[in-house]
């Protein structure tokens, strides 16, 4: 009997034009949490897909419990007790939790489903591992956190021993992440072995026993987490020193750029207002961060500010001009830049070339068109300037279809476009979501550069680190209201988490002061 439950030895996988995995060795001990760390495109997902039977390796071998195996498809992987929680959940939205768990391995006698039997086993499992679920609720009605627990139970129901978690925390709130960490520890205590794919260093430090680092398809090394530091891990991952703490000089905020008063936005999902009577301002040379867990009205607030959604009440003033009823285009013209939260849905036209995307906010300007005809040469020249200046990397330069670019470079393209517009107010919603540490560092430095050049920046984020490091002032949003306002130096991360989760709230000082001021005039 071998020490290792899974051994992937010298795995090589070649795709057209790229070696996705180059001689990678990964050994998973029984009962450990083994983290697989690497930037986007480092080859993590490819390696896991090889283990799960989705790809066949071009070289190397896989051993399970010391025996050579060949995994041709996910069914083989299942038979070897390998289970995987995908980054994007594989659940049937309109089925109940219970039905999703048994899907594919339904217990039955002569074709008649034995739900009661399944239910007993699922309830037992959920108690044993502390995975609270509602078996009869429909997937579309339960939280993302519970959906993930359903995915975990799916693996446990199939008696999987080897559990792969593919970036499981990307979609979770800070509290849910904490719970997940507990669950993972519980699972290993019961003898399960976990492969944990991530690029978040803190999570590795908290939960993993060992960590294998990949970079550009190569294996950089495997380390004991107890013997390493966040700095060392990030160096291994990126290949150079990374500034984890952002260097930011003090700035005295200038004049008020944006003034938002009593903003109220109806929800599209339910009858209540998504944003309830919010008042705040953003000044020049200041980064204001709207912190909050997803779905607490931040998106709706931003959409109302940029003009995509209509507000039912309230007033927006940009540099003294009332823009409450202005169109999207005229808001953009008057100096609002918007880095949207979903770069595929809002930020880019994926089937347009990079050049065409870089002029998405300005193609109508005289510089780029002449009597309705696009000046292709000018567009191209401008695109090439931005590509160079912001280091946007792509296969065929300005002609690249944006769809074929990596997420980090797509985001860079948006940032280049929005910042080069030279805005008065830069609005960025979760600009670093799903990006690796190098890209995050770059985006943060760009935001701060904007601030330092005297622009107003409004950042929406749910990453606690980002909130604490980047912002000058934090506004916490919960259920459509601002429940707290702080300077990052005034509050501890744990406290901030409580505000975001709705466990604590202040009557806002700033708000009443403002109103008092207005009353006097």
């Amino acid at each position: 009997m071998s020490d290792y439950i899974v051994e992937m030895l010298n795995i090589t996988k070649i795709f057209p034009g790229i070696k996705a995995n180059d001689d990678i060795t990964l050994q998973l001990k029984k009962g450990e949490v083994h983290a697989l760390l690497g930037e986007n495109g480092a080859g993590k997902s490819t390696l896991m897909s090889v283990l799960f039977g989705l790809y066949q390796p071009d070289g190397g071998s896989i051993r399970i419990n010391g025996e050579d195996v060949k995994i041709n498809n996910p069914n083989d992987a299942n038979a070897l007790n390998i289970g995987m929680v995908h980054q994007h959940f594989m659940l049937v939205e309109v089925f109940s939790v219970l039905d999703n768990i048994i899907l594919g391995v339904e217990p039955n006698s002569a074709g008649v489903l034995k739900r009661a039997e399944a239910r007993t086993k699922i309830v037992e499992l959920s108690k044993k591992y502390g995975l609270s679920i509602e078996p009869d609720a429909l997937i579309e009605d339960v939280s993302v956190g519970m959906q993930q627990r359903v995915e975990i139970l799916k693996m446990l129901y199939r008696d999987n021993e080897i559990l792969i978690f593919d970036e499981p925390t990307a979609v979770l709130t800070p509290q849910e992440i904490k719970e997940l960490m507990q669950i993972m520890k519980g699972l290993t205590a019961e003898g399960k072995s976990i492969l944990f794919i991530t690029h978040k260093l803190n999570e590795i430090m908290e939960v993993a026993d060992r960590c294998t680092v990949l970079r550009k398809g190569k294996c950089i090394g495997t380390v004991n987490v107890a013997d390493t530091t966040v700095e060392e891990l990030s160096r291994m991952m990126v290949g150079r020193d990374v500034q984890l703490v952002i260097d930011k000089k003090e700035m005295a905020p200038g004049k008020t750029v944006l003034k938002a008063e009593h903003i109220t936005v109806p929800s599209r999902l339910h009858k209540n207002n998504a944003v309830k009577d919010i008042t705040f301002d953003v000044r020049a040379g200041e980064i204001v961060c709207l912190a909050g867990i997803e779905g607490n009205g931040q998106s709706e607030l931003i959409y109302a500010m940029t003009g995509i959604e209509k507000m039912s009440r309230g007033k927006l003033t940009l540099n003294g001009t009332d823009i409450s009823k202005a169109s999207i285009r005229s808001r953009s013209k008057s100096g609002i830049s918007h880095i949207p939260e979903d770069r595929h849905k809002y930020g880019l036209i994926l089937d347009y070339s990079l050049a065409d995307n870089l002029v998405l906010q300005r193609y109508w300007e005289p510089e780029f068109q002449n009597r309705g005809f696009i000046r292709k040469a000018k567009v191209r020249k401008y695109a090439e300037k931005l590509i160079g200046q912001y280091d946007v990397r792509s296969g065929q330069g300005a002609d690249t279809m944006v769809r074929s670019m990596s997420g980090g470079n797509q985001q860079k393209a948006i940032i280049a476009r929005e910042i080069d517009k030279d805005p008065e107010l830069l609005i960025a919603i979760q600009p670093t979501r799903g990006l690796d540490i190098g890209a995050i560092e770059y985006i943060h430095s760009q935001l701060i550069a904007q601030r330092d050049s005297g622009k107003a920046v409004l950042l929406v984020s749910l990453e606690l680190d980002e909130v604490m490091n980047v912002s000058d002032r934090i506004l916490v949003m919960y259920e459509g209201e601002i429940v707290g306002e702080f300077k990052p130096s005034e509050i501890a991360v744990e406290q901030l988490g409580l505000y975001m989760a709705g466990a604590k709230r202040d009557a806002r000082k700033g708000l009443s002061d403002n109103e008092g001021g207005e009353g006097n005039t």
């Binding site: 057209p16 849905k345 809002y346 068109q369 309705g372 005809f373 696009i374």
Partner: protein, 366 residues
């Protein structure tokens, strides 16, 4: 050199072209199998006629161009709307409306041909605008409204014609002879008729090719086209960029309708065609869909695909009397239908090419 050929072969346009040609070939093979099933003795002869009848004489070729012109316009209509993310299945109704407006202008108002063509565009535009407005203002699916507008248009036109005596030939349910009623209403032939020795030919094919080029310019060179395509690819992102998506939906349907309407005008102002009051939708509008698909909605491609479809149709007619007219229709539809597999084949070809590339890549690295 070898590399140059390969990059040329793998370029986007080339893949589209190969896919279209390959799917046409598959369609023809399938058509041949059908011919064998129906009448094995004449099958080879029949296929020969499909393939070569259209080019067998100047007269036949003028028939090809004569039918290709309206087909090109309905194809452009469908393709243009496609580029904006709309499925204009209402080309038939817009075409019928265009026909009515053109004939009313020609037969009743005695307008010259070019004014009648403008009237045809207006009629089609109105018929395209309604589904466009419904989509933009109330988010009603344009497929449903435009299907209904096909039928409403057809019956409305039948009703109107039946009640305007000046439009109908005496004691018949087809429209009056345009040449007799208003000679200036007939699209000029510029001597092409004597050149080709056929009454069918006129300058309409040049008009439609010009329209195709204009549509190409609009889509690819103008800010308007940039906006339209942006809406088609990603409506949310175009709203985010401040593009008025609703206005563009309406405009796109208006232009698509005008193109179909112009098609109706082009066909019925030739002087050789007469509209017949029947209770079925005109196929010309629906044939625009495979024409657009075959050309993957590229306006320049539509010039060729419409001529191809028209060519096959003329070839089909030449198969009589060995094959019944219905069988010919089936075979032509099968060929057109399979030809529209171009999109599917495009993916397959790209896959094969990339696999070959990968294999060669490995060979090099080893």
């Amino acid at each position: 050199m070898k590399n140059k050929i390969r990059t040329f072969l793998t370029s986007q346009g080339m893949i589209s072209f190969i896919a279209s040609v390959a799917s046409i070939a598959i369609g023809l093979i399938f058509g041949y199998i059908l011919l064998v099933c129906f009448n094995s003795g004449q099958a080879f002869n029949g296929l020969g006629k499909i393939l070569f009848a259209g080019a067998s004489s100047a007269e036949k070729f003028s028939k090809v161009l004569y039918q290709a012109a309206p087909l090109m316009l309905t194809g452009l209509s469908v393709g243009f709307a496609f580029r904006t993310g709309l499925f204009n299945i209402g080309a038939s109704g817009q075409y019928t409306m265009g026909t009515f407006f053109a004939l009313y202008a020609g037969l009743v108002l005695k307008c010259p041909w070019w004014a009648a063509l403008l009237a045809a565009m207006l009629g089609g535009a109105i018929w395209g605008a309604v589904p466009g407005f419904c989509k933009a203002l109330f988010n009603v699916n344009e497929v449903i409204t435009s299907i209904m507008f096909n039928w409403i248009g057809m019956f409305l036109v039948n009703l109107l014609m039946a009640n305007i005596p000046a439009m109908l030939a005496p004691n018949a349910d087809r429209t009056a002879n345009l040449a007799a009623a208003n000679k200036s209403g007939i699209i000029p032939k510029w001597g092409l008729d004597t050149l080709f020795g056929s009454d069918y030919i006129n300058i309409s094919i040049f008009i439609t090719i010009l329209v195709a080029l204009i549509i190409y310019l609009i889509l690819n060179k103008t800010t308007f086209g940039y906006e339209l395509k942006a809406c088609g690819f990603n409506r949310n992102a175009s709203i985010y960029a401040g593009i008025n998506a609703k206005r563009n939906i309406v405009l796109s349907m208006v232009i698509a309708g005008a193109l179909s309407g112009l098609g109706g005008g082009i066909y019925y102002l030739s002087g050789t065609a007469q509209y017949t009051i029947v209770k079925s939708l005109l196929a010309m509008g629906f044939n625009g869909i495979p024409v657009a698909l075959l050309a993957t909605s590229n306006p320049i491609g539509i010039i060729f695909s419409s001529i191809f479809v028209s060519y096959i149709q003329v070839g089909g007619e030449a198969m009589q009397p060995e094959f019944a007219k219905e069988i010919i229709d089936i075979i032509i539809s099968v060929i057109i239908y399979l030809s529209a597999f171009a999109l599917l084949l495009k993916g397959v070809i790209r896959k094969i090419l990339s696999m070959r590339k990968a294999k060669q890549g490995e060979g090099v690295s080893q």
